[in-house]
Symmetry: C2
Subunit: 361 residues, 2 copies
């Protein structure tokens, strides 16, 4: 069953059927009705390849995840992001092509890139690279291929969707200050990841706004993992912090363990606040206060943004930041615990994002 046959059965021309299929208003009601009936009765669906060839649009969006080694999937960031992107695609009636670099091989990504981009397998790509300066981003810019980053672009050249990491970190630390904490440490993330940089920036800002100078001894960098957080906390202990802002929940959990082993009470001796809100289990069962970022929303919004770029190739970069949601449990020192679960937090953030004009580095 194809367009031609539908046209024949409906007693109209192929053009008319095509118009009905593409919601072209220039069709009479009777004709539309007749076509739709035939389509429904024969379960007709247009052939994707023919459509793509003629329209020069594939209606497929790519989700590119470079360096998708096993460890990348250790928490639910990527799974949740994938879900968000998939939802966005479904909503927009597009397909989602998953472009994973499982090999970690530089040349493999190159081949994938050329095959998919130059072969027009997709109309655009969402890029989930956490590296601050991924060469693939520059290449897409040069090729003028529609793309949206998940995660802020420090250069500000490309379109992106991100959580407002800096603001969220600032809020978190301000909250600890509000609890009367004096020696607030931070377990920061890797210095080559923009999210880590922004979260550290927010930490510094909050201290400065309170008229304090960040003590270098109270900053330590780790790798976003639980063991990393454990070691970082061990290293911080001699400097006697009375609060810790961990740039990820995984690190916060490691810190929690280290504090426990050192015989320190949370929050009595040391208050603790994390970042991410990914692991529902950890949030639901534990008492960790954290900044929840709306990861699924990031994915959905990235698709919407990408489609605008696809439709308007000369569109200037679109940059969107989503606020994080503060979820207060016991670990930060709050006695009045907020029962908000991360799912509600996630939904609540829709419509609260803001488009960024210019990003101060």
């Amino acid at each position: 069953m194809n367009l031609e046959e539908v046209a024949r059965l409906a007693g109209v021309s192929r053009s008319t059927v095509s118009r009905v299929l593409n919601r072209d208003p220039r069709v009479s009601d009777v004709a539309r009705e007749r076509v739709q009936t035939v389509v429904r009765e024969h379960h007709y669906h247009p052939n994707a390849a023919a459509r793509s060839l003629a329209s020069r649009r594939t209606r497929i969006l790519g989700l590119l995840i470079p360096q998708a080694v096993g460890s990348v999937f250790s928490d639910s960031f990527f799974p949740t992001l994938i879900q968000g992107v998939a939802e966005g695609c479904t909503t927009a009636d597009h397909d989602l092509s998953l472009l994973l670099d499982t090999s970690g091989d530089h040349r493999a990504v190159d081949r994938l890139y050329h095959r998919v981009i130059r072969g027009r397998h997709v109309d655009g790509v969402v890029i989930a690279s956490n590296l601050v300066d991924d060469p693939i981003v520059a290449r897409l810019q040069d090729d003028r291929f529609p793309s949206v980053l998940i995660g802020r672009d420090p250069q500000g050249r490309s379109s992106f969707v991100d959580a407002d990491n800096r603001q969220a970190a600032r809020d978190a630390v301000a909250h600890l200050i509000g609890h009367g904490r004096r020696r607030i440490a931070t377990i920061a993330g890797p210095a080559n990841m923009i999210a880590a940089i922004d979260r550290f920036g927010g930490y510094v800002t909050a201290l400065q706004e309170a008229g304090r100078l960040p003590d270098p001894a109270l900053t330590i960098h780790a790798d976003f993992t639980r063991p990393g957080g454990y070691r970082a906390m061990m290293a911080l202990l001699p400097h006697r912090p009375d609060a810790v802002f961990a740039a990820s929940d995984a690190m916060a959990t490691g810190a929690l363990q280290a504090l426990g082993e050192a015989g320190l009470r949370v929050p009595d001796d040391v208050a603790l606040i994390g970042f991410d809100g990914l692991d529902g289990d950890m949030l639901a069962q534990g008492s960790l206060s954290t900044m929840v970022q709306p990861v699924a929303d990031l994915g959905r919004q990235a698709v919407r943004t990408l489609l605008r770029l696809v439709e308007m190739p000369d569109q200037a970069p679109i940059q969107v930041l989503f606020p994080a949601t503060m979820v207060l449990r016991g670990s930060c020192g709050c006695t009045d615990v907020c029962p908000l679960d991360d799912r509600r937090a996630d939904e609540a953030s829709i419509g609260r994002e803001r488009t960024v004009e210019a990003i101060a580095s």
Copy 2:
């Protein structure tokens, strides 16, 4: 840049270029060389849509995950599976289209199904449904659309790739028996999931082979989650088991917690063995013995199997089982702990799978 232009620059016809691109041997070495040079110099890649339209093959495989609600991604099963499938596709020079049902809505899956299958968006689908009787499977059979299940099909009608859950469970329980345990309980999974059924079957078989009758009081069903395992273990405690086979690591972890709270020592008072080997963290840090299933291999093999079905539409169902790998840590009662990590276990299973002739229900 298109085929025609390449042909012009190489001084040959379009047909010859097409043959070179498709590795047709009927091309002279000089012609091939000339074409390849032009292709390389101009970074030419064939247009996917045109290719699909003419060849009636999209070179895209779908990965269908019904009911991909948040909880599905709570452990790394699906992420790992996705990675395996993605690797398989890359190896075979195919694209991967992710078909997630994020809504859970029945009608949404229907629309997706028709759009993708009838619109020929993909050449075939890998289906990751854990339900024992998913209607979508029957529909694909009826439409004679190439598909491979991840997880055994009890009816034996469709092609599938799975871990040999029954054999693995049998080995695990036999191992506990070998440790001299007398009252071996099991925390089984949901009765509508084939993996849970098979693992329970293996438990029963092992006991029977040892000349024992399974005590109904020592079997309890849970939902594969950690809290579920915790509650199940609590319910088992009054019956004083001296060993527990948990059908998932998440449930085993919950059981571990319950045992700890009850003041029982593992493995001294109660030996414990889990199933999955997914969470690298849990395996590396904890002392949980478990049956590791090669999830990424399942995905890779599913792709290979699916491609055979795509190429030979009248192929009889292909059914493959992979052995699980026993990883012994302290919890089962072994003193001589095996330091095998799950990555090595995963690799080791390649080539050890077997094709199933007939599956005994």
